[in-house]
Symmetry: C2
Subunit: 636 residues, 2 copies
């Protein structure tokens, strides 16, 4: 029977024992302070008064299963949904109960949903990739950059420091040994299938050699910093499942470490494939460390945000040195990919001057301000090869930012946007010369008829590097519903060939998303990504739709709920009008009621012919008036 039916949003106001999990059906993970340490949250402006727990229980009727790879320590997780047999005589396949095999679904929740795992965010996740990385014998431990209170926006000796820092074991960072590259692209180009590649091949249901080939060609990336051994490898590329990213991170206005960790776990519960930590508020360093040590998915950042914080928030005070220090700091923590706005050049800025909404990328506007203040070329462009050298020794993938993406329908596909795209193409080639993995960020706000051009141009100019788009939003008129305006564009661009979709929440343009918004945003984007997988013909996509539709047609309500992208909501909506257990086997719902259920009538048609030993075709073709009379008699 399904578990976890209590709405996962329900918050517990009491702490749970620090040893971990309760036997309850919704198991909270304890992010509460230990008795010997102060609270992990820094006092934040308007910080939400949330309880220190997050639901990580498996979804209903789901269990964690692993597919064993070629080596003992390579086990690929799936969520397996158990289904109930069809009732006797129902369903298109014949009399007697039909057993539906359990359905295996791609699983982004990491060890959290494994009952054998006892999570403790203060110790972090197990280092799944530790031996994979070490065995390659191309990394070295070194004494990393020491933590400084300024990294968290604090003064030395600030008492908040003890409250914010991640309390787990200190671990010296890794980097490539001198002269070596440790990127997946580097290995792939040398013909090696790494455990990471095998992992994603099993995860996607494809040949490992396909994975290697796509990574070698730059058509796919596996973001996996050597300092983030906790992550379960995933791949971003057109030949694979379309992926979803969820942005989390605090702002000056609100949020706390605890809240961000909760959002991380919440986002992976609903299926996000990566998260970007876009924190711009306080305790940036420590928030990120808590996130990375507990993230089974790749974590991306926009390093310029933290660099700006480091120079007091004034764009014109930014320096390459400040950015460089931030890159090293983040690479040592384990950040898996960076948005780098190196494509916005000085001469492109005037192209945005006549736009309806100017420059809407935060990073882009910061760099434009810097360029204009100094009247010099974008220093990220000037120092791009040095950025690649850093990325190469940690395997940080570069996500080339679209600083000039359109912020309104009016500005879509304009000269500014495409000028920058050409530079991103140049930078792609430069990064590939360093064996650095690259993806290309895309818009933004684009009307439907201009979406395909974005994909076609990106593929041509950027040599098929994976495309990673924000939406696009297909209209500007619906603030409050931009998860929908953009899910339309995201589904289309995914079908056309984008490899990862950055979610947009209902709060876009209006405020910082809370936990509910994260759920709405992730689900809307999982819909877009899955619809794109179906349209692209991904071999594993359709089996999910078909399993759910078979359950729907057979009135296996519980299976229909359990197979849903959001099982809790599906069941809750059904139960609003028909809460009884009997309704879970009823051959109707409250939409149409029993007399008007088309599916039930459909079944009766089948039964009519089956009982006569005929197919429906025969029943019709042979003009069996007699059978018709019998059917009528039976129904009366």
């Amino acid at each position: 029977m399904p578990q976890g039916l209590r709405p996962a949003l329900a918050r517990r106001s009491t702490d749970v024992p620090p040893t971990g999990r309760t036997p309850a059906d919704t198991t909270p993970i304890d992010t509460a302070p230990r008795r010997d340490a102060p609270a992990p949250g820094v006092p934040a402006i308007d910080a939400p008064a949330t309880a220190a727990s997050t639901t990580i229980a498996p979804l209903p009727a789901s269990r964690k299963v692993y597919v064993q790879g070629s080596r003992q320590d390579l086990r690929v997780p799936f969520r397996e949904v158990t289904l109930t047999p069809e009732p006797t005589g129902k369903g298109p396949t014949g009399d007697g109960p039909t057993v539906e095999p359990p359905l295996r679904l791609y699983d982004t929740t990491g060890p959290y949903t494994d009952p054998a795992f006892r999570p403790d965010p203060r110790r972090g996740l197990p280092e799944l990739r530790r031996s994979w990385i070490r065995e390659r014998a191309d990394v070295e431990e070194y004494r990393g950059r020491p933590y400084r209170p300024e990294d968290d926006g604090l003064r030395p000796g600030d008492p908040h420091m003890a409250h914010t820092r991640w309390p787990g074991p200190e671990r010296p960072p890794l980097r490539a040994r001198p002269g070596r590259a440790v990127t997946q692209m580097h290995y792939a180009r040398r013909g090696l299938v790494t455990p990471e590649m095998e992992f994603v091949a099993l995860r996607e249901g494809v040949d490992p050699e396909l994975v290697r080939r796509e990574v070698a060609a730059g058509r796919a990336i596996i973001p996996c910093n050597v300092n983030h051994p906790e992550l379960e490898p995933m791949i971003i590329g057109r030949a694979f499942h379309v992926k979803v990213n969820a942005n989390i991170g605090n702002s000056v206005i609100s949020s706390s470490i605890e809240g961000e960790l909760e959002k991380l776990l919440w986002a992976i519960r609903w299926g996000t494939d990566t998260v970007m930590d876009l924190s711009t508020g306080r305790a940036i360093h420590s928030t990120r460390e808590w996130i990375l040590r507990n993230a089974p998915v790749p974590v991306g950042t926009v390093p310029i945000y933290q660099a700006l914080d480091r120079v007091g928030g004034r764009p014109e005070a930014l320096t390459w040195e400040a950015v460089r220090e931030t890159l090293i700091e983040q690479a040592e923590l384990g950040v898996d990919y960076w948005t780098i706005h190196a494509g916005i050049l000085l001469r492109y800025i005037p192209l945005a001057a006549s736009r309806v909404t100017g420059i809407v990328s935060r990073g882009g506007s910061i760099l434009a301000a810097w360029c204009l203040a100094h009247h010099q070329e974008n220093f990220l462009y000037a120092h791009f090869d040095e950025i690649c050298e850093i990325a190469r020794v940690y395997d940080v993938a570069l996500s080339l930012g679209d600083a000039l993406r359109p912020g309104s329908i009016a500005d879509a596909n304009d000269a500014a946007q495409f000028a920058e795209l050409r530079t991103l193409g140049e930078l792609t080639e430069r990064a590939w010369r360093h064996d650095v993995q690259v993806m290309i960020e895309g818009p933004g706000h684009v009307p439907m008829h201009l979406i395909q051009q974005n994909v076609d141009l990106e593929r041509e100019i950027c040599h098929d590097a994976p495309f990673y788009t924000l939406g696009p939003l297909t209209t500007d008129v619906a603030p409050g519903y931009d998860h929908i305006t953009s899910a339309i564009g995201a589904a289309m661009i995914g079908w056309y060939g984008a490899a990862m979709l950055c979610y947009v929440t209902p709060k876009e343009h209006l405020g910082l998303p809370d936990k509910d918004d994260v759920r709405e945003g992730v689900i809307a984007y999982k819909i877009a990504a899955h619809a794109a997988d179906v349209a692209k013909g991904h071999p594993r996509a359709r089996q999910w739709d078909d399993a759910l539709s078979r359950a729907r047609y057979a009135f296996r309500w519980t299976d229909q709920f359990n197979l849903a992208l959001d099982p809790e909501r599906a069941r809750a909506y059904h139960d609003e009008t028909l809460p009884s257990d009997a309704a879970k086997v009823a051959h109707f719902c409250s939409m149409c009621g029993p007399k008007f259920c088309s599916m039930q009538i459909s079944h009766e048609l089948h039964e009519f012919s089956r009982r006569r030993g005929l197919t429906l075709e025969e029943a019709v073709e042979h003009g069996l008036q007699e059978k018709a009379l019998e059917f009528r008699a039976r129904a009366e």
Copy 2:
């Protein structure tokens, strides 16, 4: 200043005086019983305990304006949104305040949002089209079919009758004089531009002759029964705004007349262009009469539902006579369009036998059961010309139902679906021979890559008759979010050429939608329709996006809220984190905070060059180091 900020969903628990409206900012319409009459709601199973009021106040900062037509009694309503001047020195257009003209938007709310109008649902709406219809001198009043308690599923003398019947003035029905046709297609083909055509031309911003031509060619329809004089004409066709339909109506399981009337007003508030009353529960006749007399939008039905009720709910007991009686009854009440499932032929039924989800159209499954029970051809097909003869004398448009639409991704674009489509093409021609207006219903569940084929085939086979689609849903895996799975497909099919989109609510597949679901469904579909209008290049579509984006870029928060498709939600979401009035003029929001606001930095760039009397281009091109230093100095 904006009005109506109190969430419209808030329900009043007290009645308002029967004379109509209160001076409060959210004005409820009184649907409560008069003191001399019993309650209008029939006792229904699990009927929701809602208060008897519905918000009909104008949306914030909006006022009703009319565009005068060629005759005194032809005034076309618009919602005009007042905007605030831009603050001095901000915005791309120069120094000093810029006055934005008010924006006129298409308005579906009818007289309700006109402060001069005092609604009384017990008397119904004014008969806007009365003289237009009468002046044509081609209709006659006659003694209509008398009301029978069975029409409401009651026995003669049932005391519920007095509770349910619409208490307004009795009005003898109209029909064409013998030998005449009163359809808009008939007039258009004879070269006449009717007031209805002029009305929609002004509403759409196009030439009346275009309207006439499209209607004459069958490429567009104006559903407007001569017995529904209250409606404000609207047009459904590819050359015009993409339209949205909202299904309302009770089921055996739940709902009441009061609840359905509330849903009607709620649905037009959010912008639905038509409603379909799909009631299958009790008091079908009276529920419909309440709806029609108070509906400023066309009302569609599926007459077979009521006919089935008339014969005790047994499909095999259906007769042409029962359907015919239902058609006359509904035509006399003023139903504007009918879904007629005349395209599912006996020989097509086996084509659906091997489907994953069989027949999912309620009407379709009823007719399939009838066909098989009698082993005769679908009687709606057999009697189609008689249906057209009825439609022709009241001007009821036919919406040819897709009884074999796919109910799952697996069944999309299959032989069953397209076999029926060919018959719909044949029926289209037959209807046109009677001068009867026709549209074609479409699927359903269709993956993205198969959507366009639906439009292309429909246009070819059905000779460009308007296409009216349900979604389509682009994946089956997200029950609870099917407004989103289907908004994706709806936006695409609207862009490809569908003329009207039937909404899907979050409750699809799970239960009967309530008021909240109606709002979610209508808004999702307004997004899809508007995104399609933008992509199609409708001349009036983009101005809305651009006005909102200008407001966004200029930090005119209040204008941004007021221009939003759902102003209440946009403001509420913003105010969750920044509720103060000061935040409504702040140059940032809680998403990024003040230091990271890209739009603010964008403005500073503009200001920098403007103050120097330069364009941004000049500031860059001329390499003005000096200016750069000044900008830096100013910023410090």
